[in-house]
């Protein structure tokens, strides 16, 4: 099978996955006790008011009819009406998703940019000071609760040192193309705006990245040590190839496959679980929106968030599978 066919087949696989997800979350959200209409109107609302809003939002129809209407809407790009924000959920998603996407992408970039060199260092200096230090850092990284680290970072860098802003994404750049403030700043040739956005990103992205960074560090270390034991590594050394060339061109590429799996899974996980970090930094992201929707039983909000994150997860895994082929040419797309 060639690459294009593989890509098409994997994309088509998304359809039953998302359909199944939508059925599951649709049923679950409506089965959980609580009346979202009454919550939206305030608990003093009369029966007449509740009935009117139920009719307007279609919540008085049978479940199957509601689901079919919902799916038909989603296919038109309409995620329905939010009982929480009182507007179309599509607008909410378009507003909140880029914030989470930007935060998670920068967090993953930090995890790779910091985790890979630290993992290589630990492997190359195995059982020496740097290796022991990286082990301790990794343990701290996976053990530390993200929200607690977020609060500590805030106190240190925003409150005491006044180096970074305490909350928020900062002002939106004048040019809005992608909704990613750093990218929009650069695309609009406004490096100052991009810099301000980066400063706002620094703490939340780091807090979000720490767990993944620790995992990447350990996986790279383990992978590199295994590769260093192989015959080809010894042969390369015997030929007198420069150590850096051996490490970065040969060993790292072969050791990276397992890390790639973790990165793919982590990306999807962080997209949906950035809630605590978003809360501490008042970051207006989709996870924060989703939890608010859940608390107030905003059905359409909950389903939209689930579908968007599910789709993002699936796309990230597809990209991961494609990248396997780059790192290991022996892999064939089946």
């Amino acid at each position: 099978m060639n690459f294009r066919t593989y890509l098409l087949r994997r994309t088509l696989h998304l359809v039953p996955v998302l359909l199944g997800l939508s059925v599951l979350i649709f049923v679950i959200s409506r089965v959980i006790p609580g009346d979202p209409v009454r919550l939206a109107l305030g608990t003093e609302a009369t029966e007449e008011q509740v009935r009117q809003l139920r009719e307007q939002t279609g919540l008085d129809r049978p479940l199957v009819v509601q689901y079919v209407a919902y799916v038909a809407g989603v296919l038109r790009g309409d995620f329905g009406y939010s009982l929480r924000t009182h507007r179309n959920v599509t607008k909410d998603v378009l507003e909140f998703f880029p914030a989470t996407l930007e935060l998670t992408t920068v967090a993953m970039a930090l995890a790779v940019v910091l985790g890979v060199p630290l993992g290589i260092l630990a492997a190359v200096r195995k059982d020496r000071g740097a290796d022991h230090l990286s082990r301790v850092l990794a343990l701290i990284g996976v053990a530390l609760p993200r929200f607690w680290l977020a609060i500590l970072l805030q106190l240190a860098f925003a409150y005491h040192l006044r180096l970074l802003p305490t909350i928020g994404r900062g002002p939106a750049p004048p040019t809005r193309i992608t909704g990613l403030y750093v990218v929009d700043g650069l695309l609009g040739f406004d490096p100052a705006a991009a810099w301000i956005s980066l400063k706002h990103l620094a703490m939340p992205a780091f807090a979000l990245s720490v767990g993944t960074l620790a995992q990447v560090m350990r996986l790279i270390r383990a992978g590199m040590i295994e590769e260093m034991r192989r015959d080809y590594a010894l042969a390369a050394q015997s030929y007198g190839l420069p150590p850096n060339l051996i490490i970065y061109k040969y060993l790292l590429k072969n050791a990276f496959t397992a890390t790639l799996t973790i990165l793919g899974l982590s990306y999807g996980f962080l997209l949906g679980n950035a809630f605590l970090v978003e809360t501490v930094f008042a970051w207006p992201g989709l996870a924060f929106y989703g939890v608010d929707a859940l608390r107030f039983k905003d059905f359409n909000g909950v389903i939209a968030v689930t579908l968007v994150i599910g789709a993002a997860y699936a796309v990230v895994n597809l990209i991961t599978d494609i990248l396997y082929g780059y790192f290991d040419p022996r892999i064939r797309y089946e």
């Binding site: 008011q49 805030q154 924060f288």
Partner: protein, 534 residues
């Protein structure tokens, strides 16, 4: 020569006038006075007729004007003139005639008239959102009529004691602006009634205009220069109303000086910490909020009044106030003590285990026979502590308590039927409208059954009769006498353990002046009331 002298004189005179005018010109541009307010919940709607929660009310109070206003200057909820300059009430209490203040401008520049008032009331009644439930029982569509451009008349179906005070929650909207921006919607000729338009703009006459609204993060409001109450030096010109849900972050922002005011919803411990911080003022006021443990009078064994009274005598109120609430006033009956119309002769329960055991015996309940479910709202950890205290207190008289935490949405759902309502539920309840009726009729008349306010499912035909009469009486003295009579009867029947009127706390930087708490939700955060004195 003469012409040169004349020219020189003229030029000198012009220069003198210009120099004299320059300070005035400079002064006519107000000094920018920014203000950052932190709130812990998002603004869900900026349509003042859809507002039901505090943050939405804050936007309504600052972007719009209500017809009348609480007497903030005297620290009272009693109505005083605002958009309505004066009013008359007919002897039968059914007709209210309001004189509208002249010269009030909307943000669009147009003058506010009686037509806008009548249209706004009909809009509220048609929309059936927000506080329409207060007016809908007594005011029909079309019953608010324009007499002349500055006079509006409201004809009620029957006399209604809370009506005038409730108008503090009725905000006037710019009819022409909204009608010019209608989109298709479910309201016939009125389309969406401006719902789409109001997502991004306001249609008010209030002291501030909305400049920008990023949902879930920030609303920016700027002063409206033509606001009818005018502006003085030091008044706030730009408000950054930010949503931050994490309490630690809220405190950091205030302490670091990146916020000027934080909301009342921080924990008591946080306020204790902020009190110790230089440059920060923590203002404490008695509230018109009631914290009580509602007992489901339809669910055995709590259908027995003697048992309910026994439980009321077993609870340790002092410990609750001192160690859990860290201050506040002991509740005396269903109506908060600060509310006009509170009955000072309401029976008071205090911890008395002997009396509790006697009443239990009279109820025919033996120690160890009874297990009760106590439900607390999981977003409010204080209620769990109260539950632990209750559990310990009732154990002393042989009643077992099972403590269950539920999300607010589940509590609201369980309240809809007496069978699903727990035995005991912890509830904070604040005055919904500025009248004693809110905490009497609104909580103890059977018409309120099915809501979180009435989880006691209290039913006493005599009390209902007195409350119905109180609502219809026009004479204020007689009205209050009836409401007080009802309070005494209700407290005697002990449908709740009345624990506390908690303290209202709010924290702000010490250069913020003019803050006054009046009790009605949201009205203490009208940014026009504050001045900044650094």
């Amino acid at each position: 020569m003469r012409s040169w002298r004349g020219l020189t004189f003229t030029l000198a005179a012009m220069a003198a006038v210009a120099l004299a005018a320059t300070p005035a010109l400079v002064q006519s541009q107000p000094r920018e006075v920014p203000f950052t307010h932190i709130e812990t919940q998002i603004i869900t709607a900026i349509d003042p007729q859809a507002a039901v929660d505090e943050s939405s009310l804050h936007s309504a109070i600052n972007l719009y004007d209500p017809l009348i206003y609480p007497n903030v200057e005297e620290g009272s909820m009693n109505p005083r003139p605002h958009i309505a300059e004066s009013w008359q009430i007919s002897p039968d209490g059914r007709t209210y005639t309001f004189k509208i203040r002249r010269g009030v401008k909307f943000h669009s520049g147009r003058e506010l008239t009686a037509d806008d008032v009548a249209w706004s009331m009909d809009r509220m009644l048609r929309l059936k959102r927000g506080f329409s439930w207060v007016f809908a029982p007594v005011l029909d569509l079309g019953a608010t009529q324009v007499v002349d451009p500055y006079t509006v008349r409201m004809r009620l179906k029957e006399a209604y004691a809370p009506f005038l005070g409730a108008l503090e929650l009725f905000f006037i909207m710019d009819k022409n602006l909204i009608m010019a921006n209608l989109r298709p919607g479910p309201f016939g000729e009125f389309g969406d009634y401006g719902a789409s338009f109001l997502e991004r703009q306001d249609a008010g006459s209030g002291p501030f205009r909305m400049e920008r609204w990023d949902r879930a993060t920030e609303m920016v409001m700027v002063r409206f220069p033509d606001y009818w109450r005018g502006w003085k030096e030091g008044k706030i010109t730009r408000v950054f109303y930010k949503t931050v849900t994490e309490e630690a972050t809220v405190k950091t922002l205030l302490i670091a000086g990146q916020a000027d005011m934080v909301p009342q919803w921080l924990s008591a411990q946080s306020f204790q910490e902020l009190k110790q911080t230089p440059g920060i003022v923590v203002k404490e006021d008695p509230t018109v909020q009631l914290f009580h443990l509602q007992m489901n009078t339809k669910k055995p064994p709590l259908n027995n009044v003697k048992l309910r009274q026994a439980i009321s005598y077993a609870f340790d109120y002092d410990k609750a106030l001192q160690q859990i609430f860290l201050g506040g006033t002991k509740a005396r009956g269903p109506v908060p003590v600060r509310t006009p119309g509170w009955a000072p002769n309401v029976p008071l329960y205090s911890r008395n285990l002997t009396k509790a055991r006697e009443l239990m015996a009279e109820a025919g309940v033996q120690p160890g026979q009874v297990t009760l479910e106590y439900v607390w709202v999981t977003a409010l950890p204080l209620e769990r502590l109260i539950g632990l205290l209750l559990q310990s207190n009732l154990q002393e008289i042989g009643i077992k308590v099972e403590i269950v935490g539920e999300p607010w949405a589940n509590v609201v759902a369980r309240a809809t039927k007496p069978e699903t309502t727990p035995h005991i539920t912890a509830i904070f309840d604040t005055l919904k409208y500025p009248h004693v009726d809110s905490h009497t009729y609104g909580m103890y008349h059977p018409t309120c059954w099915g809501t979180f306010r009435c989880m006691s499912y209290y039913e006493n035909p005599e009390v209902s009769r007195v409350l119905e009469a109180a609502r219809r009486v026009v004479d204020t003295k007689e009205q209050m006498r009836l409401y007080q009579e009802a309070q005494v009867m209700i407290a005697r029947d002990a449908p709740s353990i009345y624990v506390a009127n908690p303290l209202h706390r709010i924290a702000f930087r010490n250069y913020v002046k003019g803050y006054r708490y009046v009790g009605l939700l949201g009205f203490d955060v009208n940014f026009w009331d504050y001045t900044i004195e650094r």
